[in-house]
Structures are given as C-alpha cells and as structure tokens.
Symmetry: C2
C-alpha cells in the first residue's frame, strides 16, 4: 500500500495538517518539524495520491486559458479538440478551459486575448502566439502576477514561459527530406514555398530539410524560395510563376497555402508528376495526399498538443507539478494508405 500523509504524520509525531504545510511550504512550520517531515517523506518515498488531490481540488476549480489563432484554421481546430478532451477528462478534478480564439497572428489582438483570459479568471494560459517583444513583455507581466504561460505550438524566446508544448520543426523538416530521399528523385530541383520568413517554425523546417539532404549527399538544387504569407491565392500565384520560370522537379511547402500550391501544380500540368512535400493533416493536404500529388505529409499531432498543454497547466496549477521545459510531439508520417486514420483517442 502506498505511503500517505497520515503515515508521515504518525512517523513524525505531528498532525496531517502540519505535514501538509511542511511539504508544501504553506503556513508556518518550525524548522525542526520541517526538517523531520521532509526527511521522513523522502525516506518513505511519499507520492501524493492523485485521486485524493483531485477530489480536494474540486473545492477551488482551476480555469486554464487557451489562446489560439484558430479562426478559420483547421489545424487549430484539432488543437481545440485536444484541449476539450483534456478538459473533459480533467473535469472530475475541477478543471475548466477558457478559449480565446483569434484570427491570425496580429500582436494587438493577441494582447487583447491575453487580457480577456485574465479577466475571465484564467489561472494560467496556454498560448500559440508570436515571438515579438510586446507579447513577451505581456507574458512576463502575467507570470509576475501569478498567471503562468505555456507556449503552445510556437516556441517563444526567453520570457519566463513555464514550458513549450509543440513540435520540433527542424526535425519534421528532416523527416520530410527523408521521404524525398525515399522517392529516389535524381538531382532534384526543389521549389521552396514558405509561409513567412518571420515564422521561426517555417525557417526551421526549411533548415532541417536542407540539412538532411546535404547530409545524405544528394545533388539537389533549389528552384527558388517564395513566401506566400500562408495564403492560398498568393501561394498559387507565386508557385505557378516559379514553376513556369524555374522548372522544379519537386515542391517543398514549409507552411500553409498548400491548397494554392496544389492548384498551381495542376495548372502547370504537373499534378502527380512532381511530388509536393507538405506538413500537417488538414483538408488541403489530405485531399492532395488522396490524389497522390503529395506522397507524404509530416504531421505534428495537434490534438495531442492541445491535450498536453491543458493537462500540464492544470497539473501545475492544481498540484504544483512542474511540467518539463519542453514537451515535443512525436512527428507522424502520413501517406495515402494511412491518411484516413483519425487521431485523438485518449
């Protein structure tokens, strides 16, 4: 049978309340008692019972804020599903999720959303936001006010975040390169379509991709790099233009806008003739995988990310369990034969 507070109390000759205060540093405890209790807890390898923690936590429910650029963004819909699943499975422990859904990555709107979450009583916030000074300042201020922040999906530079939950973009780029290698293209000529040069994740995906190709000693060259601002219309225009001018044998899409890229490749009469490598499992990639235009897409488990972020934040708030500095989603390769598998059984 597991060691309980009561066991420690008995061994230390004090009451359970005192043990509780000693272990959690709340309230006053005399130095001797403190030392004794901590030592005994250590020796007995005390681990608090989660069921009991949960039951007790019901008395003061915890609200986890969620800030996502999820307006009209199917990727973040999955993150939300995961967060809701976590809410559901933690609701018996007193958890609730507050969602602020914004459109795009404008920092003014993100700042408003942070304020709204605090206003609504969030005890902590999981945020997929932008790595700019004004946001970092806000996060530092929130943390100082006792509202910790977990960076979700987009990593943030030093700003006191509790943790990063997301993928390793460089690594997913390397995996995309691995799939390209399997295709066995001779001397590939690669057109790179990125979302934005300001998005760290997109840059890392490109760096990882090229790094791996170089490592493998492939005689590749690039047929240019275009920036589509994650917009399908721009992606279509720029890709078509580049294809007609540059003659690529392969397109690498580091960000969104895949639908536009597919359209351009079709208009150039190259659909199914040159492979498109892309990321994530969203309707646009999914349909191109089905048609064979995308041989493989490298996904990052958005459901899991949402689930994890909420769960880690809750455990921190309710049980003061410190999350790992980084929780990295395992990359998932999807091809035509497994693109229909659905994610998110928990």
């Amino acid at each position: 049978m597991a060691v309980t507070l009561k066991d420690i109390a008995a061994a230390a000759g004090v009451s359970r309340g005192t043990v509780d205060r000693a272990l959690h540093g709340r309230g006053d405890v005399s130095p001797e008692v403190l030392e004794r209790v901590l030592r005994i807890a250590q020796e007995l390898n005390y681990r608090p019972n989660r069921a009991a923690l949960g039951l007790a936590a019901l008395k003061k429910p915890v609200r986890v804020g969620l800030l996502l650029p999820s307006e009209r963004n199917p990727f973040f819909d999955e993150v939300i599903r995961g967060a809701r699943a976590a809410e559901e499975s933690l609701s018996d422990f007193g958890a609730a999720v507050l969602l602020e859904s914004v459109r795009g990555y404008g920092s003014a709107e993100h700042l408003r959303a942070f304020a709204a979450l605090e206003e609504r009583g969030a005890g902590g916030v999981c945020a997929a936001t932008v790595d700019v000074p004004e946001i970092r300042r806000e996060i530092r201020a929130l943390s100082a006010r006792g509202v910790p922040v977990i960076a979700l999906n987009s990593e943030l530079s030093e700003c006191g975040c509790l943790s990063y939950v997301g993928c390793d973009y460089r690594q997913t780029g390397r995996i995309a390169a691995g799939m390209l290698l399997l295709l066995g293209l001779r001397d590939p000529r690669i057109l790179i379509v990125t979302g934005s040069n300001r998005m760290r994740g997109h840059n890392e995906r490109i760096a990882g991709f090229l790094e791996r190709l170089r490592e493998a000693g492939v005689a590749f060259e690039t047929a240019g790099q275009v920036e589509c601002e994650d917009d399908d219309a721009a992606a279509r225009r720029l890709t078509l233009d580049a294809l007609q001018r540059g003659g690529a044998s392969c397109v690498y899409v580091a960000g969104a806008g895949v639908g536009g890229v597919g359209q351009a490749v079709r208009e150039a009469g190259l659909l199914g003739k040159i492979p498109i490598l892309a990321f994530d499992d969203i309707p646009a990639t999914r349909s191109l995988v089905r048609s064979g235009a995308i041989p493989a897409t490298v996904c990052q488990q958005p459901f899991e990310q949402g689930y994890r972020a909420v769960k880690l934040m809750f455990q921190y708030l309710a049980n003061q369990a410190t999350p790992p500095a980084r929780w990295i989603a395992r990359p998932v390769i999807k091809i035509r034969e497994n693109i229909e598998e659905k994610d998110g059984e928990v």
Copy 2:
C-alpha cells in the same frame, strides 16, 4: 458544477446510499424509487466523479493480470512498459498489474499462465495468446467465473472476450504496400517471408499488402513465400536460398526473423540494393532502418497497446465502464529520420 449523487438524492427525496444502490443495481430498492432515481439521473445527466470513484476504490484494490509471450521478445518488452506505465498512473486508484511472461505460443504453457494469474487473484486478464480451441475454452470458463479477458495484440475468435486491443494487421500490410509504391520500383518481384502460416496476423498482413498492390495496378509478381517460424536462423537460410534461386527485387517480411532476412540479403550482396519492408520497431528492424536496408517499417505502438489494455480492464473492473469492442492502435511509419524517436510518453 457537475451533478453529484447528493443532488440526485435530494431531487429524489432519498439518501445517497439508496441512489448508489439504485444506479448500480446492488442491494434492494423498491421499484418506484428505482424508476425515480434512474429517471432523475438521466435527466440531470449524472456522471460519477472519477476522482471520488478512485478514492473509494482504494479500499479494495484491483489486480489486472497480464499474459504475454514476452520471454526474449523485445516487442513485448514495450507492451510491458506500457502496462507498467498504466499501473503507475492508476496506482493512485488502486490498480496493480500481475505479469505472467511465457516463452512462445505453446498453448499448454499459456493455459498454465492463465491459471497462475487467477490463482494470484487477478480480477481480469489481458492476454496475447493463441487462437486455438483449448485457449478459447479456458477464456470462456474464466469469463464465466467472473474474470473477464481482453485479447491483446492477437485477436481471438468468438470466446466471450471483453475487447480486442491491438492493431489492424491488414491495414498495416496496406501501409507497407504504400511505402513500396512510393519507392517506385518497376515491376517489383517480391519475396515474401512470413513468420507462420498459422498466425492470423501474419496472413492478414500479407493479404493487405497484396490487396493494396493490386488496387494500385502495379505489375508485381512474387518470388515465392517462405515461412521462418519467427526464427532468425531459419529466416536467413530460407531467404538466402530464395534470393539465389528466385532473384527478388524486394523482400516483404510479415513477421519476425527480420535480422535473419537482413543477414541473408547482405550475404547475397544485395544489402541496400533491394528494399526490405518490415514491421515493428525492434532492435533488428531498427538497425536495418539505420543502415538503409529497410526504407520503412510499419509499427503498431506496443507501448500504447499495453497501456490501453490495462487501463480499459481496470476501468471495467473498478468502475464497470464497458470498453469498446475493439481498440485499434494507430499504425506508425518509421523511416531513417524518425526511427530514433522514442515512444511512450503518456
């Protein structure tokens, strides 16, 4: 705030104990009270609180039996890791796992292991066993005695199992075919190495593989099919023989014995020249993926399977939550670039 027993008791004008008995059909409850309580619970959408359930369940701990052919089998080591992880995360709810590890698939030994688990007080058993009459009879008998069984990793024909937790072998075969298609081999000549023609999973993997190739309209032919009894030495010998005789441009390994296959391909001077398609992430496949001999291996999340089986069984025993008839692990494609990712964060 969620609806509690107390709320129902108040609404029905009875005590909490009565509500409990009514909802769970234990003890005597008058028809009128029963009807009233059930109706109110329904209306209020009552969902028992898991933390409280867990806390109360601590009083009578639940033991989940685990029967695995895991002696000298790295695949099942992962299943065990998953089961232990589940035990750990459920230990605060009164769960314990009893492991019986056997060598191979001999039904006599499996029967002994079933008996041992019952003897040791297992309230339910998760078993990776063989689909033969004497085993099915034992499972029926166990179930009748109130010890339910979940089929783990190997599906069993009708024998009253509570659930099947494992992969869809046909589907993983199709995915392997998908990877072969991506490689773009012209008119592939495929040597099929199976573990055993008596293993349903192996047969299904072959069927799915061939089915998908046919669907895709590939002009393939087989360079024979050999049966290695999941043994490396046999696999090496049979593969070498077949390669020298038949001249395959690709080897498909449906079961274990991959290490032997790799050895044979090397001895035939074909390592890295003809692709080997295999399953699971075990040391043998892993090292062949690293060296490039296996372009891709299709894995079935053994950790998850172990975790899931134990968790479902526990929830059934402790909270009478009926598990789904089938819990199918999502297949995972591993190539050189993601073979080092480690599984089993829960």
